[in-house]
Each structure stands twice: as C-alpha cells, then as structure tokens.
C-alpha cells in the first residue's frame, strides 16, 4: 500500500489501567468511521477490533497509541503499547487463555477472547511482542468488502 494513497491519519492515546474510560477511544473512532461513509458492517467489525484492542491496553499495558490510517479501499490500525509484553503469543492467541485478574473479569473482559476476536473481525492481522517493552498489533479491514449485507 503506497503512502501516497493515505487519505487520513490520526493517532489516539489509550491509558492503561483506566477502566472507567476503557472504550472511549473505540467509541470516538467509531464516530469518525461512520463519518467516512463506510458500510455499517465495516464500521462494526473495525470498532469491535478497536474496542478489544483498547481493553487489552487498559488491562495489561501502561499506555498505548492507536493509529488509524485510511486508504482508498482499506483501513489500517496499529496499536503500539508500552508494557510487559506477551511471553507466548501462540498461547495468548488461543481462545480461553488469559492472565486476567478477578477485577478484569468482573468488568466483563479478560476471558481470553480479545485477540481471537480482533483476528476474526479483521481481514489482515499481525502481532509482535517484546518482553519488558510492549506489544504491537497491526490489523486491517478492506472497506470495499463487507462480509454480509447488514
């Protein structure tokens, strides 16, 4: 994807451990995505991925930056966090595996579904992590390919 094709770019800061505000970035970005005139199914899938990614930062990282990149037929999202990182990515990607605390579970998250949910809703997905440094998620949704007619 050529950088010259970039139509819009914005970065958002997500604070770790701030449960009260967890979801505000994804909700704000959802408003932007609607404003781009995207298909509602595309907006929904991207927003679910963004929300899960945001809650992962709230639960596990100190802080992160969510970068939104709009291209003519694609939206890319890069979430770069500063935190402990993930020791075993293959383990973390399997549904049901989680290191969540009781508080996280009491908030309705931390069931080991977040990363698989992001992957399921995205058309492209990549994750890399360095212990003691942090985790970077990159995912993308093709904006001209809604999966159903909803």
């Amino acid at each position: 994807m050529d950088r010259d094709d970039l139509l819009y770019r914005e970065r958002f800061r997500i604070k770790g451990n701030d449960f009260e505000r967890g979801g505000e970035v994804a909700t704000h970005v959802k408003g932007l995505l609607k404003g781009f005139g995207l298909h509602p199914e595309i907006v929904r899938r991207l927003s679910i991925a963004n929300f899960e990614a945001e809650m992962n930062v709230v639960m596990y990282a100190r802080e992160a930056e969510l970068e939104l990149l709009l291209f003519p037929n694609l939206i890319r999202v890069v979430v770069t966090d500063r935190g402990d990182g993930i020791a075993d990515i293959d383990w973390a990607m399997r549904e049901g595996n989680s290191t969540a605390t009781a508080e996280m579970r009491a908030r309705g998250f931390g069931a080991g579904l977040g990363l698989p949910n992001i992957k399921r809703n995205a058309d492209e997905f990549a994750i890399e992590s360095t212990l003691g440094v942090g985790t970077t998620l990159r995912y993308a949704v093709f904006t001209d390919r809604p999966r159903d007619a909803s």
Binding site: E20, G23, A26, K30, I48, R107, G108, K119, R120
Partner: protein, 124 residues
C-alpha cells in the same frame, strides 16, 4: 417486540432512550462477558446483562445493539447513564434476575441470534 413492550414485560425503569421505545428488537443476547457479546451478538439485538459498568454501554454502542436491559436492579453510575443518553442508547433497568428476565422475554418471542443453535466460534 418493541422496547416499550420489553420495558412493560420486565417492569423496567427506563434510564435512557425514552424517545426510542418504539424500536423493534427480535433478537436477544444475554451475557456478563462483553467479549462474548462482541463475538456473537447480532447488530440490533437486545443485550441483557448483569454488568452495570461503562463497558456494558460501550459494548452495546460498539456492536450496534438495539438496547440494554440491566438485571437484578443494579443501577449504573450516573456517568454511565449520561453516556447512554448522549449516544441515544436505550438503557432499561429491571429488578428481575437474569434467568427470569430471559425466560419472560423468550416467552414473548425474543430469540438468540443463533436461533437455538449453540454458537460455535469460527477457528481463529
């Protein structure tokens, strides 16, 4: 089923979305686990949950749900109600427990998104 009928059926206190009670909901998803809602709930469905936190409202908003019923009389914080009001998201509060609320709604014709089939997640 209209949200107004949901509110009548469960004796709900309407905390937000008074002007949207004519909205039709045919599907319902009940969970306290928001990741399950994000993975399996259909857009437009009613969310029944025991979670009264901001995350329940964010989840319903993100997943385009038709409204929220919070069970067992757990009143959300004022900021959570205010957020739902700003987003125009109907937020109903019932004294019924989760099981009874779901049973009453099922009796009135609401069904789960999977129409009786246990939801099977696609291989990730």
């Amino acid at each position: 089923m209209q949200l107004r009928q949901v509110a009548d059926c469960l004796g709900c206190d309407v905390l937000s979305g008074h002007d949207r009670l004519e909205r039709e909901v045919d599907l319902c998803f009940a969970a306290d686990l928001m990741s399950d809602v994000l993975a399996f709930a259909e857009h437009g469905a009613l969310l029944v949950t025991g979670l009264a936190s901001a995350q329940a409202v964010h989840t319903a908003e993100i997943a385009d749900m038709g409204g929220i019923v919070i069970v067992r009389g757990k009143r959300p914080a004022d900021e959570v109600i205010a957020f739902a009001q700003r987003r125009g998201l109907p937020l109903l509060l019932t004294a019924h427990c989760m099981f009874d609320a779901c049973g009453l709604l099922f009796q009135r014709g609401l069904r789960s998104p999977s129409a009786g089939e246990p939801p099977v997640p696609p291989v990730g």
